[in-house]
């Protein structure tokens, strides 16, 4: 394995992550139960299709006997292979690691099974497998290969020359002048031939590379604008991508030799879309749930956020479990926003927050409550689990009782100051609850679009209502993908009111995660 890791290190030096289901944060995190075991699962996505994903499973409490993982794509007709046994991670007593080949692009599931003295149970982590990054060619590898390539070029020319010069001579006979001349001609001819082959190979490589770049994942195109003529003003988010707009239109797809295989939108946390507005300076934030009649234009009342240019992130999930974030911008002009007291919100779960982040680890919320980031004082390192945990306290310092907010004890949004990272987190991790349920609810008969979606909505509503109240402390399993300045908005609900606390987090550089 040493040789392989050496080869891997030679090749894998610069990865440029583009976008994924979230933005700039391709790993999937899940925290929850696998039967009787509490597990935290991290899936490091390969970034190419097909590629090898690394799965880390951490168990809390009793040590299990066996941890296995298996991957499958969203397709009820394809069988799954026998699961892979995850091996204990070096220098760790509770973490197991496995490598899985992900063959199919699109929505895939990783099923982790933990078994031991307490019994056994499974956890499903939905992942979106798309080509996301282009690997640069390492200069050291390029120099090494070019050197050997040159040697092989010269070697082949020499061999052909020797064959023509001496190859046909009887044993012991020396080559004549004619032999030598013919050999020179053959060597020139071989050089030209090899040069043409190399040129052909280079063109081939270039065409593979440009095709790969064209197929790199791009979020579906969208735009956002404010309709200020209505009272109160509305923000209208529209999907402009022609593949999406013409989804299901087989004549349109055939004429353009395209395959529009989008399945219908499904609700995640009871909403078809979670729309986030984050002002460029991160001084204002809104979390909205627009309504739609055609799955193309989504409308929401504009909350009273201050003017400025906003980055717009829109999370949606389709029936296949494929979760994605659309990205666009929106400018809120002076006076465009409505009056806070008069605003009729589109959805009772809509919320917004204006102002800077807490300078310290604690920030005041409304109603005399406060929110505190807990955990060690050690700096947060990129690629390592950040240990994000927050406490909500009453004015007297006792833990506040929290109500479920859209089926979750808390929601958090992480954004990097340059807009290159955006993640919507829950205590269960980065994954979408709807995506996860598509894998547990699908049946072989789900061949008609929308059939699974309806069952999914029903199941989700009952699951959301069953979420118990939290005790004032919430954690989010997550690792920041790269160093830099981040802001996290943590949202909880208490007595029907949505409370938002903002914190700045500085992430330092470190080795890649889980090593």
């Amino acid at each position: 394995m040493k040789l392989q890791s050496l080869l891997r290190n030679l090749g894998l030096t610069s990865l440029c992550v583009i976008l994924s289901a979230h933005v700039g944060s391709p790993d999937a995190w899940f925290e929850g139960n696998a039967g009787p075991y509490k597990v935290t699962i991290q899936v490091q996505m390969p970034g190419v299709v097909p590629g090898v994903a690394q799965i880390f499973v951490r168990t809390a409490g009793d040590k299990p006997d066996r941890v296995t993982v298996v991957a499958n794509k969203f397709d009820a007709t394809g069988g799954a292979p026998p699961p892979e046994v995850a091996t204990p991670l070096e220098n760790s007593s509770d973490t197991y690691v496995a490598r899985l080949w992900l063959m199919a692009a699109g929505s895939n599931s990783i099923t982790v099974e933990v078994s031991g003295a307490k019994g056994s149970g499974k956890a499903v982590v939905p992942v979106v497998n798309v080509p996301m990054r282009r690997l640069e060619f390492d200069p050291r590898l390029a120099i090494g290969l070019s050197g050997i390539g040159l040697f092989l070029f010269v070697g082949m020319v020499t061999i052909i020359g020797a064959a023509v010069r001496e190859g046909t001579l009887p044993a012991g006979e020396l080559p004549s002048f004619a032999n030598r001349s013919r050999a020179r001609l053959a060597m020139i001819g071989t050089s030209i031939g090899l040069a043409l082959i190399l040129f052909g190979g280079w063109s081939w490589w270039s065409s593979v590379d440009s095709q790969y770049r064209r197929n790199l994942f791009k979020p579906i195109a969208s735009k956002a604008e404010i309709v200020s003529t209505s009272v109160p003003p509305m923000v209208v988010f529209s999907v402009t991508d022609s593949d999406w707009v013409h989804r299901g239109d087989s004549a349109w797809a055939r004429a353009r030799q395209r395959r529009t295989s989008w399945t219908p939108l499904v609700e995640d946390h009871g909403k078809l879309m979670h729309l986030f507005l984050i002002r460029d300076d991160m001084g204002a934030f809104a979390h909205l749930h627009p309504t739609t009649s055609d799955s193309i234009a989504f409308e929401s009342t504009l909350p009273p956020v201050p003017p400025g240019r906003y980055r717009v992130f829109s999370d949606v999930v389709v029936e296949s479990g494929y979760a994605q974030t659309m990205v666009t911008t929106l400018t809120v002009g002076q006076g465009a926003n409505g009056d806070a007291t008069k605003t009729q919100l589109t959805d009772p779960d809509d919320s917004w927050f204006t102002g800077g982040a807490a300078n310290t680890r604690s920030t005041m919320l409304a109603d005399g409550l406060s929110m505190r980031r807990v955990g060690t004082a050690a700096p947060i390192v990129a690629g390592r689990e950040a240990g994000l945990r927050f406490e909500v306290l009453n004015a007297d310092g006792t833990p506040a009782t929290l109500e479920p907010y859209m089926g979750m004890a808390a929601h958090a949004v992480v954004a990097k100051d340059d807009g290159s990272v955006f993640v919507h987190l829950h205590p269960m991790g980065t994954i979408s609850m709807a995506s996860q349920m598509t894998f547990s609810l699908r049946q072989p008969g789900d061949t008609i679009f929308g059939r699974l979606g309806r069952r999914l909505s029903a199941a989700e509503h009952s699951a959301m209502n069953a979420t118990p109240a939290a005790t004032g402390s919430v954690g989010f399993p997550y690792a920041f993908p790269k160093p830099g300045k981040y802001r996290i908005w943590v949202q909880v609900r208490r007595e029907g009111r949505i409370l938002t606390g903002a914190f700045d987090i500085h992430v330092i550089s470190g080795v890649k995660s889980a090593e």
Partner: protein, 402 residues
């Protein structure tokens, strides 16, 4: 019988000693022919591995077999270079060619060393490729072609080493023995060529479309004709084609005995044993034609000969494989012996299994005998060009003595 014992004199004894000394001196030939065999077995095994199990590593058994082949060929030939250059007898040096005016070894040894380095070079390139563009998305990719150049290099190098020995042989016994080994080394090269076009020209479903005949006409005659021209056997192309068929059949029959299961999702075809390669092409029939034509035309009318081979090769291929395709799609071929109807773990099985693919069609998408006839005519031109190159190459090889 007693007389036989009493006349077992010094002459025969010294001849036997000389013969065993020749065999001992030929060890590099056996070594590279062994390496050449490992390469093609490893390749066929690896393809079956990808069709059955799906997932592999750098150290999967078929890969290890290929690495062993490269190492055996490279080390044997490296030793031959050092031995010939620094401690070689005049006779050994006389049978070698010089590299950079100093190093000496037989031509085939240089080709094998070049090929070994090429195979090794492809490993980091292929690894990078997998990380950059995905794992084995296609068989035909630039790093795989570098690897294939190395593999073919070892097979051609092995062939050249046998060839030099065959062309130097002075006794009829040696000539026949080395002629057979040469035919075997050639059969491995033909197997390699056939395996490389297996995706597009091997399944019965392909045998009613001109694409099958165009591809085989381009790839196969060049080798059969070149080997026929440089061999000392009476039926050289036929022997090579027969050895190719036996070799692929043995692989095909043996590999499907081993239980295996897919390790990647989604599995649409839950296979339980290694998926064998398709039945070999029935090359022995056109090969008989090649041998007969080459005997009839002699060696001084190569252009008409190439044209005749082109027409005969495609004509015989069509006559044989048209009906063979029908048979392979029939229920009688769906067994271990003919190994038809064996598909990959990730093939969604459907009616396409028993249908002909890539049929020649007209503008309204109906099967068109006219389009087929045009395609066959084009295939004959391809075969003639391929045969002409083969004649030229074979003529050169026939003169190789070192």
């Amino acid at each position: 019988m007693a007389t036989t014992v009493s006349t077992f004199g010094p002459t025969e004894a010294s001849e036997a000693r000389a013969h065993s000394a020749t065999l001992a001196a030929e060890w590099p030939i056996y070594s590279v022919v062994f390496a050449s065999t490992c390469i093609i077995v490893g390749l066929m095994w690896d393809i079956s591995w990808h069709r059955t199990i799906g997932r592999d590593t750098f150290w999967s058994p078929p890969h290890v077999l290929e690495q062993v082949a490269a190492i055996v060929a490279g080390l044997s030939c490296g030793y031959v270079v050092l031995q010939t250059t620094f401690a070689g007898s005049d006779e050994a040096r006389g049978k070698s060619v010089r590299f950079w005016r100093f190093f000496q070894a037989p031509l085939g040894a240089w080709v094998c060393i070049w090929a070994t380095i090429t195979m090794i070079t492809s490993a980091p390139l292929d690894n990078w490729w997998h990380n950059a563009y995905g794992l084995d998305v296609k068989i035909i990719s630039p790093p795989h072609m570098v690897l294939a150049a190395g593999m073919i290099g070892i097979e051609v190098g092995a062939m050249l080493m046998v060839l030099g020995a065959q062309n130097r042989a002075t006794t009829e016994r040696d000539r026949r023995r080395l002629g057979f080994i040469f035919a075997y080394a050639g059969a491995i090269v033909v197997s390699m060529a056939a395996v490389l076009i297996e995706e597009n020209a091997a399944f019965g479903n392909e045998m009613h479309g001109s694409a099958f005949y165009k591809l085989t006409a381009t790839v196969i005659p060049i080798f059969l004709v070149a080997f026929a021209r440089s061999s000392r056997l009476k039926w050289p192309a036929t022997t090579t084609a027969l050895l190719y068929m036996v070799f692929v059949l043995l692989n095909m029959w043996v590999i499907q005995l081993f239980p295996a299961q897919p390790r990647l999702a989604p599995i649409y075809n839950p296979v339980t044993h290694m998926v064998p390669s398709p039945f070999p092409l029935l090359l022995v029939f056109p090969a008989v034609g090649i041998d007969l034509l080459m005997r009839r035309f002699g060696s001084d009318r190569d252009w008409p000969l190439a044209l005749a081979i082109g027409v005969a090769f495609v004509g015989v291929m069509l006559a044989v494989h048209w009906f063979w395709g029908d048979f392979l799609l029939s229920p009688y071929a769906r067994n271990s012996f003919f190994a038809a109807d064996k598909w990959d773990y990730n093939n969604r099985l459907g009616p396409w299994r028993y249908q002909f693919w890539n049929l020649d069609r007209d503008a309204s998408r109906n099967f068109s005998p006219l389009h087929l006839a045009q395609g066959i005519a084009v295939a004959m031109i391809y075969a003639a060009i391929s045969a002409r190159i083969g004649l030229w190459w074979g003529k050169g090889m026939a003169r190789i003595k070192r």
